[in-house]
């Protein structure tokens, strides 16, 4: 990673993940579900990691989640000013996802495990919109 840039490093969509980033751009958090065993999974891939079936489909998730764990990083990170939470959330549909928590103080007092969250789409450029999360309204 280029530490000299002031911008946060952005994802590079792949053939297997393009649908996910098309989704965030369109305001949808897209997950995948297996048509055979019913497993809902993330990150994207064109087959089921539970039963190896290629019979999988893409759907828009609710965007609801809870806070599973996090650290508050005091290390310099391009695109962030000062301490920032690097968080993992559990989506209501089951999968977990790395993200940041926005519209919330970046303190242990404000960031309480299991607190309800909802997705907040953060446009970075014409191609990339990141799925961040904020306290549920």
């Amino acid at each position: 990673m280029n530490q000299k840039t002031k911008e946060r490093p952005l994802p590079r969509p792949s053939p297997e993940s393009q649908h996910f980033w098309d989704g965030t751009k369109a305001g949808e958090l897209r997950l995948q579900k297996c048509g055979d065993c019913g497993k809902t999974y993330f990150p994207p891939r064109p087959f089921c990691p539970s039963c190896s079936s290629r019979n999988v489909s893409i759907f828009a998730a609710s965007g609801k989640a809870t806070l599973y764990s996090y650290v508050i990083s005091h290390l310099p990170m391009p695109g962030f000013d000062g301490p920032h939470a690097v968080a993992v959330v559990t989506l209501d549909e089951g999968p977990r996802m790395m993200t940041n928590i926005v519209d919330c103080d970046q303190t242990p007092e404000a960031l309480v495990l299991d607190m309800p969250l909802e997705v907040s789409f953060a446009r970075q450029n014409d191609d990339i919109t990141l799925p961040l999360f904020k306290p549920a309204s």
Binding site: P11, P43, Y68, S69, V71, S73, L75, V86, M98
Partner: protein
């Protein structure tokens, strides 16, 4: 085990340890390798198998003058060397080669000719789904599970600090340790915040160094200058490099599988273990390791540490070189854990555990991605 046993007949670390600005990473491998050869009374002409990580094995073979018939370049981060030992054992048993050198060298602090921390983009989903959120270095990746762990077991950040305090007690007995001054829980809690809840003294060092092992079959092992250290059991497994995708933040599946496999292979019980080494890039990892190896129930490891059981004089002496938190940590620590296991079984460790006969070294690499476990003993079963 039906197969011929395998033993460590040479073991050594680099001549210097800590800050070594005058040596490339490649030379650190060679320096450790030459020291291990001398320890075994061998030269490169006696070596027909090579394994290393960080530096590619063909690069090192050429540099050292080794002409191998067996090569292993398994590179899965900090526990690469545990996997090398396991693979080397199988290779010797299969007759692919007779005498294997496993090396590690890393210019983790001085960065002289160093590979450095791997990029997380091409071919790695973490580059796409974790790095953009700030999970880009070990302190913001390896650490993420711990708040969930503490909550589930009703523990506090002081329980993490106790790990650093306990290991410093061992480091104080080790002249080669980077940090030897006594620590208190307050010292640890009040040190600089790196990634809440981890303060600086809950994080490993960044140092330069290396180590090497030489393995051969047990029937040849008695002919070497040092008493053989037998490989009693081995295990390996992986869960994956994406910290966000681990199935349960209170335990490591890779630890559990690798550890259980090693115990099953050795045919011993937890109570047979005299000495424990657990990879400690951060203060929580030994807690996971003690629980996932089955030395206590989930959530009980912090109590073991707090009550002094892992400290000098305790019933479960753990990380007796001072560990990555106080001894040294060049980036991939697993080799140093095994070096200490071998020293303890040989009876020559600076902080020697009285009558240590069986030791386990548990490694992890790529955060909680890949684990290797090796059980060493002073006698054939």
């Amino acid at each position: 085990m039906k197969h011929q046993h395998v033993a460590v007949v040479g073991a050594a670390e680099t001549t210097e340890m800590g800050v070594i600005p005058g040596m490339t990473e490649l030379q650190l491998h060679a320096d450790a390798g030459l020291n291990a050869l001398a320890d075994a009374g061998l030269t490169v002409a006696d070596i027909d198998g090579i394994a290393c990580a960080g530096v590619a094995p063909d690069v090192l073979a050429s540099y050292m003058g080794i002409q191998p018939t067996w090569i292993d370049g398994t590179h899965i981060g900090g526990s690469s060397f545990m996997l090398h030992v396991r693979h080397a054992m199988a290779a010797i048993q299969a007759g692919h080669c007779k005498t294997i050198i496993i090396t590690h060298g890393e210019s983790g602090r001085s960065a002289v000719g160093a590979a450095g921390f791997p990029e997380f983009f091409a071919g790695r989903l973490g580059g796409e789904f974790e790095v953009p959120y700030g999970a880009h270095l070990p302190p913001t990746m390896f650490t993420i599970p711990v708040l969930r762990y503490l909550k589930e077991f009703d523990l506090t950040t002081e329980d993490l600090a106790q790990v650093a305090v306990a290991q410093r007690k061992w480091a104080a007995l080790n002249p080669r340790a980077t940090f030897k001054d006594p620590l208190t829980v307050d010292d640890v809690m009040n040190s600089k915040m790196i990634a809440y809840p981890f303060t600086l003294l809950m994080c490993c060092l960044r140092t330069d160094g290396g180590g090497a092992l030489i393995l051969t079959s047990a029937d040849r092992a008695k002919d070497f200058p040092r008493p053989p250290v037998y490989i009693l059991g081995t295990g390996e497994s992986c869960e994956g490099p994406m910290i966000s995708q681990l199935e349960d933040y209170t335990t490591s599946r890779a630890f559990r599988v690798a550890g259980q496999t090693a115990f099953t292979e050795a045919g011993i019980e937890r109570a047979d273990i005299d000495h424990v080494m657990i990879y400690d890039a951060f203060a929580h990892v030994p807690l996971y390791g003690l629980e996932d190896l089955g030395f206590c129930k989930p959530g009980e490891a912090a109590g073991l540490v707090k009550d002094g059981h892992t400290s000098p004089g305790g019933k479960l002496p753990t990380n007796t070189n001072g560990g990555g938190l106080s001894y040294m940590h060049s980036g991939m620590y697993g080799m140093y854990a095994m070096q200490e296991s071998v020293r303890q079984i040989r009876g020559i460790a600076p902080a020697q555990v009285p009558d240590a006969k069986i030791s386990i070294a548990l490694g992890i690499g790529g955060m909680f991605s890949v684990s290797g476990a090796i059980i060493f003993g002073n006698e054939l079963p």
